[in-house]
Structures are given as structure tokens and as C-alpha cells.
């Protein structure tokens, strides 16, 4: 029996030494621990998370839309319905979470890049992926700040109501609210770094390129009142991508006149659906104010059976789905026009504005704007912004910006089920409450009420 004992001992030994290798296989072949540049890029190419499902909150809060009684009453989703009337009972948990999901994804990519390491061969790609991640983080913070933090302009008192700024992908990291200045500093710093790293010609419009990063910087500087920086960044964008579509070339009878990823799109992103686009209607005053020779009157609006107009100028090429809320060359021309007007560069401002509008009006009908009074010129630019950037969530930031800079005193109101709902100038509800769950679990301060 001795040899059998030996055999079994041998078997057992080889069994034990084989263990380590035996257990060294991945349990699911589609799953991996992210550690390569390809993994990072694949995360950033998750268009469901990165390019769609952005917050509809700014859209639902703004004055660019209204909903009829029937549309409102037949909608079953309570959260957008409450937000539509600026009701603090709305639970915006999901909106907050989907935005921070992008922050988490960006931080995951940044940590993946650390694991992947740089060498001569991958330097270009490494920079590009890092730039995309930083841009995504900055853009996410930008959008969150428009809802959950009070308006902020350079030089304002620095309130402690900024965003939690997460720097790692860990889900257990403790955090606190930053100050408003810290929030915008973070956005500008991430976007500036991204601008330096990104490729000027991204392969897809869902990936940020240099122009997208400059575009975000231009938008942010305009928001906080750094007009010189806004203008210079807008110029940098337009140096890379300036083209506008001639709206005369676009078929106004098409139900969806614009295509996804069209040539004006610098960075593509789209909101999820709050109240369905089949029940939302465009602000009637805006429709009437739109000139008959302005092609946007036909390309953006669709008359509905109830006599009101729905919006069809979505740059996502969808009717029922989420609205495009990314960055376009059109917006950049307007940023350039506005910031130059603020800086007193009236000629440059008019040039930029006319450059945009000539592509928006019927050929031969557009009379270039010659208004040299900065106040009146800025009023025209505000109108053009509302129209050009309609249903992109940008109007909400503009309302807060105009109100806090004193340019306008906008009060919002809605007529619904025989009742007025109002959001008066200066109301605390211009800043949305942080979701209760975040206050409870994250231990952060709630916005003032």
C-alpha cells in the first residue's frame, strides 16, 4: 500500500500548488478591472450615461415652455410635474444621482489612467482620454451648479452652498459642500486642463475635443461675468470649429428638421425626458416675437391640435426623446457677441451676432443689426439666446444670470388648473433643494429656504 500513499500525497501536493492558477480566471468574460486606456475610453463611450440622460430640471424650471391642463393631468410622472410648478416636495434624487454618476465615471477613468501608466506610445491617447474625463467632470459640475447651487458671479460673496466636489471613485469617501467659488474654480480648472490635453478633432461628437473644453470655459466665464475670458475662449472654439448651418438649406416641413451630430454640434449631450415633449408647448410670447422671416419660426415650432406650438428644433434629431443640451457653434457666436458687447467691443459683437443670424433668416431678408447702444444690443442678444438656445436647459442659467447681474428682473409664473403658480424675483426656489437623501446620508447643509 505504500506506493499508493505516496501517489496520493503527490496528487494532493500538485493539487495545492495548482490552486493559485486555477482560481486566476475572470468569472465573467465581459467584466474586467479597468486598467487600460481602452477600458477608459470604453467607459467614456457609454453614451447612455455620458451623452444622454442629462438633467431635465433646468428645462422644466424655465419659462421657455408650458403645459396644458390636459397634458399636465394625463402625465403620470409626479417628479417633473412638481418641478414644473417649482414645488419643493419634488424628489430630485434621480437627477442628482445621474449627474454624479458621470462624476463617478470620470473619476473611475482618471484612476484607470493611473493604473495604465504613460509611455511614449500611448502619450497622445492617454492625454486625450484624461482630457475627456476631466471635461465630463467639469460639465457635470457645471450643470449641477445651475440647479443645486445659488447663482454666483465673480466678486459675489462666497457662500458655502457649492457642490460636493468628489476627487476619487470611491463610494465611501466622505465629502462636504464646497463654496461657490471653489465649485466654479474646479469647473474652470478641470476644463482648462482638459483643453490642454484634448485632441482638436475628436472621432465622435460624444467625445469632448479641445473645442468642447474651450466652449465650456466660455460658457462658464460668461456665467460668472468674466467677459474677457468668455470672449477669448469663444474665439478659441471658433478657431477650431466655426461652421453654421444655413437654415435656408433645411426642409421646414420635416417633422425632425435637424440631425444628430450636425455640423454645428461641438459636443453632443441630451437630457432625459421630464414631461414628455408631446405635452410641452413653447412659450407663446416667444413664438409671436419670432419674426416671420426668421427661419427658426418654421424649423423650431410645430403647430399642434390644441392651437399651441411644440418644439421640433432638437439637435438630437428626436421628437419624443430627450432634448439636446450640448454645446454648438451657434451658442459660441452668441457668447462672443454678448461678451464683446459687455466689454464695449460693439463692432466685434455685431459681427458675431450678424454672422449667426444671417444663417438663420431667409436669404435676402435679413437686415444686419447695426444697434450700437450696448443696452439695446444686449437686449437683442438676450432675445436671440432665448430663441437660438431654446429647449436646451440654457435659458434657466440665463434667467438666474440676468436676475443676479441686475440686467433683468424675471418673475416666472404658470397658469395651471385654474390657478397661478409663481416664482417671484429673488425667491429662494431659484436654487433647488438638495435631495433629502443626500442631506441625510451625506450630512451636508440644505439650501436656504
Amino acid at each position: 500500500m505504500k506506493w499508493t500513499n505516496k501517489l496520493f500525497i503527490l496528487l494532493l501536493l500538485s493539487f495545492v500548488t495548482g490552486c493559485a492558477k486555477f482560481l486566476d480566471v475572470r468569472p465573467d468574460r465581459t467584466a474586467t478591472v479597468p486598467s487600460t486606456l481602452q477600458d477608459g475610453q470604453a467607459l467614456l463611450d457609454n453614451t447612455t450615461i455620458v451623452s444622454t440622460n442629462w438633467m431635465w430640471l433646468p428645462h422644466m424650471y424655465s419659462d421657455e415652455l408650458f403645459v396644458t391642463n390636459s397634458g399636465y393631468n394625463s402625465s403620470s410622472n409626479e417628479t417633473p410635474k412638481l418641478n414644473y410648478i417649482w414645488n419643493d416636495n419634488a424628489d430630485n434624487n434621480a437627477q442628482w444621482m445621474s449627474s454624479y454618476r458621470r462624476v463617478n465615471l470620470a473619476n473611475t477613468v482618471l484612476e484607470t489612467l493611473d493604473r495604465a501608466g504613460i509611455n511614449q506610445n500611448n502619450q497622445m491617447l492617454w492625454d486625450d482620454v484624461k482630457g475627456q474625463a476631466l471635461f465630463l467632470r467639469a460639465f457635470s459640475y457645471y450643470k449641477l451648479a445651475q440647479m443645486f447651487s445659488p447663482p454666483y458671479r465673480n466678486g459675489d460673496p462666497d457662500l458655502p452652498f457649492g457642490l460636493p466636489l468628489l476627487q476619487t471613485a470611491s463610494i465611501t469617501e466622505a465629502y462636504q459642500r464646497s463654496s461657490l467659488k471653489e465649485t466654479y474654480d474646479q469647473i474652470i480648472s478641470d476644463a482648462s486642463q482638459a483643453a490642454a490635453l484634448l485632441s482638436p478633432t475628436p472621432a465622435f461628437k460624444t467625445r469632448a475635443g479641445k473645442a468642447a473644453a474651450f466652449g465650456l470655459l466660455a460658457r462658464t466665464h460668461l456665467l460668472i461675468g468674466n467677459y474677457a475670458d468668455a470672449a477669448s475662449n469663444a474665439e478659441k472654439v471658433l478657431a477650431i470649429q466655426f461652421e453654421l448651418m444655413d437654415y435656408n438649406q433645411i426642409n421646414p416641413s420635416a417633422a425632425v428638421p435637424f440631425q444628430r451630430f450636425n455640423k454645428e454640434v461641438i459636443y453632443h449631450s441630451a437630457m432625459s425626458t421630464g414631461l414628455n415633449n408631446s405635452v410641452t408647448r413653447v412659450d407663446s410670447l416667444l413664438y409671436s416675437a419670432c419674426a416671420a422671416d426668421d427661419l427658426r419660426k418654421q424649423l423650431f415650432f410645430q403647430r399642434q391640435a390644441d392651437g399651441y406650438y411644440s418644439f421640433k428644433g432638437n439637435y438630437d434629431g428626436q421628437i419624443t426623446g430627450g432634448m439636446f443640451d450640448g454645446i454648438t457653434t451657434g451658442e459660441m457666436w452668441l457668447v462672443l457677441a454678448e461678451s464683446n458687447a459687455k466689454l464695449g467691443k460693439i463692432d466685434e459683437s455685431l459681427a458675431a451676432l450678424n454672422k449667426l443670424l444671417v444663417n438663420r433668416w431667409k436669404t435676402g431678408r435679413f437686415v444686419p443689426i447695426l444697434e450700437r447702444d450696448p443696452i439695446l444690443l444686449l437686449a437683442r442678444i438676450r432675445f436671440e439666446r432665448k430663441l437660438e438656445l431654446l429647449f436646451r436647459g440654457i435659458r434657466w442659467s440665463d434667467i438666474r444670470r440676468y436676475n443676479s447681474s441686475g440686467e433683468e428682473k424675471i418673475e416666472l409664473k404658470r397658469w395651471l388648473n385654474d390657478q397661478w403658480y409663481r416664482l417671484p424675483f429673488g425667491d429662494h426656489r431659484f436654487t433647488v433643494l438638495i435631495p433629502n437623501k443626500v442631506v441625510e446620508m451625506g450630512g451636508v447643509a440644505q439650501n436656504p429656504r
Binding site: F22, R26, S74, E78, I171, F204, V256, Q302
Partner: protein, 1079 residues
């Protein structure tokens, strides 16, 4: 505790150890004697029986074939033969001539308690030799059941097993309540004979099953280590016998289940439904849908008529005539006539066994056919099995087996009554006046995705018709699933020394599953897709999807390999008996799956067409924005591997005192974990004492008594989790830029650990008054720690759900099995009582949300809150209705309130009303058995007690929007004064969703769920012995089972079945079967 029955003793275990003769201190010459020890009833050899001689000074044991050989030093001597479960027998040997070779027949001992053989999957042992808590569901009990799957046959047969219905309506099985707070890993580990079964449990043919052992406590289960935390169910298949002539048995069983009880649905009658629609129409509720020129959501035919009438296209008379004719319809009669039918199942099985001295064989074959209740759906299963075992030379035993299961299912139905899927989110039900066929038998279409006003004219004749009728669809499509499952196994046992045996086992499972779904060109699925991707310009149709059928092919393959090397040892000296085993195991499960779609499929020529998946094509009439052609291509695959070492030891002294211990360490290939971190050691100990086996025990009334105490740990493992951030890749079909992409699968969680369950068990086994009362009672406490819970974390993490270790759960309970013989003798009446009390409490759950809305209405899923049971029923406190408008009244900040939005969003958990657990605290079954000669009748009554249920009621938002009505509508508040006798709120427009939400989750709808159900009534009759002899049969039995689904008692007054999702009782079923043969 089951009765001792001679038939079962046939199966008295073959200990995994076979023993050579072991004689201590043999010297010199003596009187060599040999013999065999067998069962007096069956003649089966008893291996491992103990023989003492020379005044209990020396011992020997029998070998595998029951034989022994002794050398006696002096004569005369007396041999004392003892064997678990048998009466100890003395045999005097006076002279060698008589004693040289003889056969000793042992008779079963009624006094012995657990003389039944059980299996843990690692070893087979007599229940007496373990301190563990086991339930054995024997062949007879299993054969009472009629289901085609084995697990369903356990209902009401083991006290620790609870079947509960879950939120999704599926039935879930649990042993001794919860051990974990996750639904996905809360199911017990299923072992088939020796290894975990990876295939679908419905592959196992119950006819091949001998018995089922349920391992309940730590000593029983912890040999399975990291996967045993939720208990273990060991299914043991029939075995062949050596030295047995050919025996056979045929079993045929037919079951018929009635049509579903659709009329039990608490629906709103058609005239009232129409009335509501008219009212809503007047309020403009449908304007948004009717004015919608993009997605064109479905509205009911009544609304279409009202719209036509409003626009002047229909006269008032015509409208009223049409509405009156609709009001006379009831959709349920249509469904019963055209969609449903009684379900039928036919099961046939043949078993053969034969055994020689060195080789034995078992073969079986089965064929089951199921005609399912939905017309057009069928399933069948063929099983074949062959097992060989041999003992070629002394000390060596081998076995080999193969089991094949082939399952096919053919499905052409479009789903049942509550599975109607109308576009625009109207999932579930249809308006009550829907028709499938008119009085003349003509099929009536209904709108599925777009409203009639659109589909009537869409395409102007150039498109495919856009109408839908579920009956007509049956002939246009087919879903065919085929699954081949093979299980092959080998074992070799080898006696290395007289105290040591090696055992090598291998088992492989392979399964190949294919599902082919084909939709013909005329199917609604194809017509709809084709139309959507069509464009019409100048009378020309452009199809962006090739014209023709569509075929989806899905494949899933799995290969599981199990290897085990195990050493079994046994040593006996004086009054001591030591048994032990140690072994190592490796498992590997490799799986892969694929799915793809063919467009332009032609089933006759097998031709397929190319399709452009990349371009986003405009949709017809802008039903949606441009969309890519749906792409079904995806691949999946993976490997799970486990390595384990285990050991187990049992020490007995004087047969009365018992000590057990076991330990196991498991490791698996978790993503992102290095090998040395992936293991977890688990262990158990137990002590037992059986005073009734002592010489001094003289109590005649208590003929048997034993007490057991065990403690130990087992675990729960989830290989899908990881301490590092992991991502998973998805195919490009889900991307708007046509790129493959990744998503975060698990976020980083450095503190991830395996769940552990510590269980204490105190058991008492007893038999009183000549077995008139026998049974066992077990008290247990399970402490589960480091529970993995899918929590919804701080939204700032960006994760909607993460699974982390948090929380401790304590489950206490009492398990009682009692067999009482009320009338012994030829007419026998006995009652089997299986009763279980179970109390679960979450001791520690740091993440318990403060908000009340995290708990209310979620009782059908695990709903953890510190200090409460896992399935807690919570409600908003209600003060009934107010008298002015019939609004429900709740409480907010200590005051009555009708601010439903604030109540729903701000009520804290402390302000909720807690009712109790949604799972029964006390459950069990009481089975009366009457038998007289060959006739027997038994009735099983199931009892569930101490839990709460939430009644469904009318929710106006889903009533208006999704056609989901509820007959509480008739009890609604309609005028002041009604609030005195109803709690159902008034119908109001516009709908306040929060009002609905508050009402449906308020305390008025919660009731006690206690019930008693007559689970089944069984009869069987054996033909008289004389006839059997003539027919040369050992048995010939006609049997039947009636499952009325009838509630004998229910605590709720709404007449709904607490067990089913919609409160609709399961339809009655009856079965009749014939079992005959020589087995």
C-alpha cells in the same frame, strides 16, 4: 419524524466506508468462523455491523457485502451483533461445526429513533450518528406529489421549508427563514447526490429521486461551507442493489388543471368603465393623447367613438348604440374561450434494476408532456438514466452513471390575461369590454401600440395592416426552446487499510440550450417593425428593414466539472467509535451564450437578408425620432471556479454520547481578488446524548430519547462582487456612436467580505408509548453577519444601488415534526404534524433610511430596517375619509393632513404604522393519513399564520391611465355620509398621484393574512395481494390527488387569496396515476 418502515430500511445506508475484518490482538490459533449479516425483511447485507465477542472484550465488523470472519480463542462464546436501527442480537456458538459459516438475520428495532439513512452529499450516514438537524422527505411523501419538478413536491412535507410568493409572482423556497438579506442569494444550495447541481432543477425527474434530505443546522450543512448559509437540499437518486433479480416499475400520471379563475379578478364592470371614460373625456383628460401627432398613444375604442362624436363624425344615436354594445362585453369570457384552456400533464416513467454479485445496474426512462394553460403553448421532457456499480475485487467499489434530460417547449401564445402589453406603458390589463371575437366568431382586432385613428388609415394601403389580435398571432410565430442536459459521473472507492478508504469522484454536467423565435411576415411584431421603418414618398414605399420574417436565435451552453478526493476513516476500540473524513474538491463552471437576429428570414428557403444596423432611419409618421434597426447580437461567457478542503469527524462513546465537528475552507475566483484572500474558513461542532440507549434506561413509556446541541458557521458567497471597481462591456448595439462600450459593474468596495451565518441548534428526538407519538423538536437561532445588502446609497456616489456588507440578522425558530398514531392496526389513522415558528429581526442595519417612503408598500421584497423583520409591512397612518369630498386623511407632523405630497415625501419611518411581517411567523402542515388494507387516503392542510398582507384597491391614476381598475371602485365615497362606512376615496379629476399613493399605502388596506388551505387530498389503492401474486407484481397501485386550492379559513374579509399576486385563487387540479411493477 417519519415512521420506521421496512421498505425504507431496504435503503439503509451503505456507509461510504467498507470495512475489512478488524480484530484486535489476534494471536495463536483459534476457531475460525465466518458468516453474513443481513436484514431479516429484505435480505439485504448489512455492512459495518458491529460484532462483539469474548464478553464484549473484542470487536469485529462486517464488510461491504455483510460478511465477517472471526477467530475465536475459546468456545463456547456468544456473539453480540449490533447495527444502527436493528435490535441487537446475541448468537451463541457452542461448537465449530455449527458455527463455521452461517447467516444472521437482524430485525429492525422499533425502539431506535433515527435509524434512517440520510445523506449530506459528502457522506451517507445514519441519522443517529450525527448531532445535526436533518429533515428527510422519503419516497412515499415525494410520491404523493404530482408536479414534474422535484422541489414543488416538498411543499407541506418538511417543517423547515417555506414556499412563498415573491413580488414577481414566482415561488421561492427558503429553509428556516432568511439567512441573508438579498433575494438573489437567498435560495438554498441544491445538491444532486454528491455535487451541487448547476442545471435547471426542472430537469430532474422526480421518478428518479429516492428521497430528499434537508440539511438545516450548522453540523448538517457546514460541510458545504460558503454556499450553505441558506440551508442545503440534497436530492438522492435511486440506487441499484447487488444480488437482485431484474425488477421493474412503470408509473403513469395524468394531471389536469382548470382554467385560471379570471372571474375572481376584482374588475370594474364594462358599463361603469365606459361611464368613467365618458366623464374623463368631458374633462379633457384624453386631449393630450388624441392631439398627439407623434407617438399616437393607444386610447380605448370608447374614447375613439367619443372623439368621432365630438368632431361630428358620429351621431349621438350611433354613439349610444355602439357604447351599449360595448357595455355588454366582458373580456374575461373571451380570454377563457380563446386564450386559455385546462392545462394537462402526462408523466410516464419506467424503472429497471438488476444486480449480480459484482455488478448492478439501474436504468430508467421518462417522458412527460405538458399542454399548458395558454393555447398554443406546450412543453415536453424526456429523461434517460443509466447507473452501474460494481465491486470487482474485495475492497474496491466503483460506479458510473449518465443522466440525460431533453426539454422542449413550444410557445406561440401572446401571454395571459394580466400580461397584455399595450404600447405607451399600459402594461397589464385591457379595458373590460375588449373583444377577441364577435358573436359571429369573427376575430376582432385591438390596438396594440398606436391609436385606432392612426392605424385605420396609416400608409393609405401601402403599408402592412397595423392591427393586432392575440389569437391570430398564434399562427404567425413560434418560439421553440430546446435544452439538452447531460450529467455523467464516476466514482471509485478503494480500501487502503482496514481503517481507511479513499474515494474519488468526478461529475460533469453539460447543457446545450437553444431558443429559436421566428415571426412570420404576417405577425404583428414584423408588421409593426416593418411599418415603422418604412417611408412613403410619391406612392413608393421604402423599407429599411428587409421584407420577410424575423428570426432570433439564442444559445446558452454550460460545462461544469466537479472533482473530489476524499478519505474516509473509521476506528473502533472498546466502547469508542471514531469516524472521520477529509477531502478536497475542485469545481469549475464554464458558460457561454450568444444571441443574434436574422432579418428577411424565410423559413421555407432559409434565406436571410442584410440589414443596415448603423444608420438611424426616420420612423414612419415620426412615431419616434430616427432609430437604428434593432440589433440583437450579443455574446457572453465566463468561468466560475471553486476550490475547497473539508473535514468531518464523529466520535461516539457507548453509542449514547456523540461528538461531531466539521470544517471547510472555500476559495473562488472573485474578480480582483488574489487567491490567498478569497478563502473563508467555516466550521461546526455538535454534541449529543441518547440516554434511552443506556443500560439503565428502564422507562417503558419513553422508549427513545435523544438530545443534540450544535453550533457552527456557514457562508454565502457572491462571485459577481469585487473589492475593486469592475466594469463590464456591452455590444455596440446599445451605443449611439456604434462603438462597443463599458459601464461600471461594481464600484470599488475595499471592505467586501463574505456573509457568515452562525447557527445554534438544540434538538430533542423522542418516541413515546410504543411509537404512538414520535418526532423531534429543534430550537434554533441563526445570526447572520456582514450581510451583503443591495442598498441604495447616497446619490452623490452616482450609484443607484450598491451591494455592501452591512447589517446583522437574527432568525430564531422552532421546528417541530410529530407523528401521532391515533388508531394503530389494520385500520390505521395517523397524523403528521409539521410546524414551524420563525421570527426574524434585523439587529443592526446602519443604513436604515429615515424616510417613510423607503418602507411603505414594499413588503413583497426584503425591506430592511433596524429592529424590524426583513419583510416588514408598514403603512401611513390614516384617519379614514373626510366628509366633504371623500379625501383620505393622513397625519403630518402630528396633525391630520390632506397634503399627500408632503405626507409621502416627508413622513419619517418612526411615524409609520408597523403591522408585522409579510412572511408567516408560524407555518406548517397537518397531514391526516388513513389506511386500511391496500387503501389509503390522506389530506394535507397547510397553515400560515401571524403575517400581514396589503389588499389591492382602486388607484385612480392607474385606472385612468392604464385601465387597471379595481372593484373597490364600487365602495368609493360618493356623497357625504359615505365616509362612515367606507375607506375608499372618492374619484376625482385631476388625479393626484400622491393621494393614490397615500391611500394604497395607508393602514386601512392592511389585514391579517392568516390562512388554512386544504392543499391536497390524496388517495391510493393497492390491488389485493392475491391478484398481485397472480400478476407476479410486487405492487400495483392506483392513486390520485386533488388540489382544490381551497381556503378552509382566512383572516381577511376581502375573500382574496393571500398567497397570490392578484389575490386570485390558483385553479383546482386533479391527478390520477397508476404505478405497478416488481420494484
Amino acid at each position: 419524524m417519519s415512521t420506521i418502515n421496512p421498505f425504507r430500511i431496504l435503503w439503509i445506508m451503505l456507509l461510504p466506508v467498507s470495512f475489512c475484518l478488524h480484530v484486535a490482538g489476534q494471536s495463536g490459533t483459534g476457531f475460525r468462523i465466518s458468516g453474513r449479516i443481513t436484514d431479516s425483511v429484505s435480505g439485504r447485507p448489512l455492512a459495518g455491523a458491529s460484532i462483539s465477542y469474548e464478553g464484549k472484550q473484542r470487536y469485529g465488523t462486517t464488510t461491504l457485502d455483510g460478511s465477517f470472519e472471526l477467530v475465536l480463542r475459546r468456545l463456547p462464546d456468544t456473539l453480540q451483533v449490533s447495527f444502527a436501527g436493528y435490535k441487537t442480537k446475541s448468537y451463541a456458538i457452542k461448537d465449530t461445526s455449527r458455527a463455521r459459516s452461517f447467516e444472521l438475520r437482524m430485525s429492525p428495532d422499533a425502539r431506535e429513533l433515527a435509524s434512517v439513512s440520510i445523506t449530506t452529499g459528502i457522506q451517507e450516514l445514519s441519522k443517529e450518528r450525527s448531532t445535526g438537524a436533518f429533515d428527510l422527505v422519503g419516497n412515499e411523501q415525494l410520491n404523493r406529489g404530482v408536479s414534474t419538478d422535484i422541489l414543488s413536491r416538498l411543499e407541506g412535507m418538511a417543517s423547515s421549508v417555506l414556499f412563498s410568493s415573491t413580488a414577481g409572482g414566482s415561488r421561492e423556497i427558503s429553509i428556516r427563514g432568511l439567512s441573508s438579506l438579498r433575494n438573489t442569494i437567498a435560495s438554498p444550495l441544491i445538491i444532486l447526490d454528491n455535487f451541487p447541481y448547476e442545471g435547471d432543477l426542472s430537469n430532474i425527474n422526480p421518478n428518479d429521486v429516492q428521497d430528499v434530505t434537508i440539511l438545516k443546522d450548522a453540523v448538517a450543512a457546514s460541510i458545504w461551507g460558503a454556499r450553505a448559509g441558506n440551508g442545503v437540499i440534497v436530492i438522492r437518486t435511486r440506487k441499484s442493489n447487488f444480488n437482485q433479480a431484474l425488477r421493474w416499475q412503470i408509473n403513469s400520471l395524468y394531471t389536469q388543471t382548470a382554467e385560471p379563475r379570471l372571474y375572481d379578478y376584482p374588475m370594474i364592470k364594462a358599463p361603469d368603465f365606459i361611464e368613467t371614460e365618458r366623464w374623463l373625456f368631458g374633462k379633457g383628460y384624453y386631449d393630450a393623447a388624441l392631439n398627439n401627432t407623434t407617438s399616437r398613444p393607444v386610447v380605448s375604442p370608447v374614447v375613439e367613438l367619443l372623439w368621432k362624436h365630438k368632431n361630428g363624425h358620429l351621431s349621438t344615436e350611433a354613439l349610444n348604440t355602439a357604447l351599449n354594445s360595448y357595455a355588454a362585453n366582458d373580456v374575461r369570457s373571451n380570454f377563457l374561450q380563446h386564450i386559455y384552456r385546462p392545462a394537462q400533464t402526462l408523466q410516464n416513467n419506467l424503472q429497471l434494476t438488476v444486480g449480480g454479485n459484482q455488478l448492478s445496474m439501474l436504468a430508467s426512462g421518462g417522458y412527460d408532456k405538458q399542454i399548458l394553460t395558454l393555447q398554443g403553448d406546450e412543453a415536453s421532457r424526456a429523461t434517460a438514466r443509466m447507473e452501474l456499480s460494481g465491486r470487482p475485487i474485495k475492497g474496491v467499489e466503483w460506479g458510473a452513471g449518465i443522466i440525460y434530460t431533453g426539454t422542449t417547449s413550444n410557445k406561440t401564445s401572446e401571454g395571459g390575461f394580466n400580461g397584455i402589453n399595450i404600447g405607451g406603458g399600459k402594461a397589464g390589463f385591457i379595458y373590460p369590454y375588449a373583444q377577441l371575437a364577435d358573436e359571429n366568431g369573427n376575430w376582432v382586432p385591438y390596438e396594440k401600440d398606436y391609436r385606432q385613428g392612426f392605424t385605420d388609415t396609416a400608409g393609405g394601403g401601402l403599408l402592412k395592416p397595423w392591427k393586432y389580435n392575440p389569437v391570430l398571432e398564434r399562427s404567425t410565430k413560434q418560439q421553440e426552446s430546446l435544452l439538452h442536459h447531460y450529467l455523467g459521473r464516476l466514482f471509485l472507492k478503494w480500501q487502503l487499510a482496514n481503517f481507511l478508504e479513499a474515494e474519488l469522484r468526478w461529475q460533469q454536467e453539460r447543457s446545450f440550450g437553444n431558443t429559436n423565435s421566428t415571426w412570420g411576415e404576417d405577425s404583428y411584431f414584423v408588421r409593426n417593425l416593418l411599418n415603422r421603418f418604412s417611408q412613403i414618398s410619391a406612392g413608393q414605399v421604402t423599407n429599411n428593414i428587409p421584407v420577410g420574417g424575423i428570426q432570433d436565435k439564442k444559445a446558452a451552453n454550460e460545462l461544469a466539472n466537479n472533482y473530489r478526493l476524499q478519505f474516509n476513516g473509521r476506528h473502533r476500540w472498546a466502547q469508542w467509535n471514531l469516524e472521520g473524513l477529509a477531502g478536497a474538491e475542485a469545481r469549475s463552471v464554464v458558460w457561454d451564450g450568444s444571441e443574434f437576429r436574422n432579418y428577411g428570414f424565410n423559413a421555407n428557403t432559409l434565406s436571410v437578408a442584410n440589414v443596415n444596423y448603423v444608420t438611424a432611419f426616420p420612423q414612419y409618421a415620426n412615431l419616434s425620432g430616427p432609430a437604428q434597426v434593432p440589433n440583437r447580437n450579443s455574446l457572453s461567457g465566463g468561468t466560475n471556479r471553486f476550490l475547497s478542503v473539508f473535514m468531518n469527524a464523529a466520535l461516539q462513546w457507548r453509542r449514547q454520547y456523540q461528538f461531531n465537528m466539521s470544517a471547510r475552507k472555500d476559495a473562488s475566483n472573485i474578480l480582483g481578488v488574489s487567491t490567498n484572500q478569497s478563502g473563508v474558513p467555516l466550521w461546526s461542532v455538535g454534541v449529543g446524548w441518547r440516554p434511552s440507549l443506556a443500560d439503565w434506561w428502564k422507562n417503558r413509556k419513553v422508549e427513545s430519547l435523544g438530545i443534540r446541541i450544535t453550533y457552527g458557521s456557514s457562508g454565502n458567497v457572491d462571485n459577481s462582487l469585487s473589492p475593486l471597481t469592475t466594469i463590464s462591456y456591452s455590444p455596440a448595439s446599445g451605443s449611439i456612436i456604434n462603438q462597443s462600450y463599458a459601464g461600471i459593474r461594481t464600484p470599488a468596495n475595499a471592505s467586501l467580505r463574505w456573509e457568515k451565518v452562525y447557527q445554534t441548534n438544540l434538538g430533542i428526538d423522542f418516541s413515546l408509548f410504543k411509537k404512538r407519538i414520535s418526532g423531534n423538536i429543534d430550537l434554533y437561532q441563526k445570526m447572520s453577519t456582514d450581510l451583503l445588502v443591495p442598498v441604495s446609497p447616497d446619490p452623490t456616489t452616482g450609484q443607484s444601488q450598491v451591494t455592501i456588507n452591512t447589517g446583522d440578522l437574527r432568525v430564531r425558530g422552532i421546528d417541530l415534526q410529530l407523528n401521532t398514531v391515533l388508531v394503530p392496526g389494520a385500520f390505521n389513522w395517523n397524523i403528521d404534524w409539521l410546524l414551524h415558528w420563525n421570527d426574524s429581526k434585523i439587529l443592526n442595519y446602519p443604513l436604515s433610511p429615515q424616510q417613510g417612503n423607503a418602507y411603505v408598500g414594499l413588503e413583497k421584497t426584503i425591506n430592511p430596517r433596524e429592529g424590524y423583520p426583513a419583510y416588514g409591512v408598514y403603512s401611513y397612518v390614516s384617519s379614514g375619509l373626510e366628509g366633504a369630498a371623500g379625501n383620505p386623511v393622513g397625519w403630518l407632523n402630528g396633525e391630520v393632513s390632506q397634503n399627500y405630497g408632503a405626507i409621502v415625501s416627508t413622513t419619517t419611518a418612526q411615524d409609520l404604522k408597523f403591522h408585522g411581517s409579510a412572511r408567516p411567523v408560524f407555518f406548517g402542515s397537518v397531514r391526516n393519513n388513513w389506511s386500511w388494507k391496500g387503501l389509503s387516503v390522506s389530506a394535507n392542510v397547510l397553515l400560515k399564520w401571524g403575517h400581514y398582507m396589503r389588499n389591492n384597491s382602486i388607484q385612480y391614476s392607474t385606472y385612468f391611465g392604464n385601465w387597471v381598475g379595481h372593484s373597490d371602485y364600487y365602495k368609493r365615497w360618493q356623497q357625504p355620509g359615505d365616509e362612515l362606512h367606507t375607506y375608499v376615496p372618492s374619484m376625482q379629476y385631476p388625479v393626484n398621484n400622491f393621494r393614490d399613493n397615500f391611500y394604497i399605502n395607508s393602514e386601512v388596506l392592511v389585514q391579517k393574512a392568516d390562512y388554512l388551505r386544504l392543499l391536497d387530498l390524496q388517495f391510493s389503492c393497492q390491488i389485493p395481494e392475491k391478484w398481485k401474486k397472480k400478476l407476479k407484481l410486487r405492487q400495483c397501485q392506483l392513486y390520485g390527488l386533488w388540489q382544490p386550492g381551497y381556503l378552509l379559513y382566512q383572516a381577511n374579509n376581502t375573500n382574496v387569496d393571500p398567497e397570490t399576486v392578484d389575490g386570485v385563487r390558483a385553479p383546482a387540479a386533479w391527478s390520477v396515476g397508476l404505478r405497478f411493477g416488481t420494484l
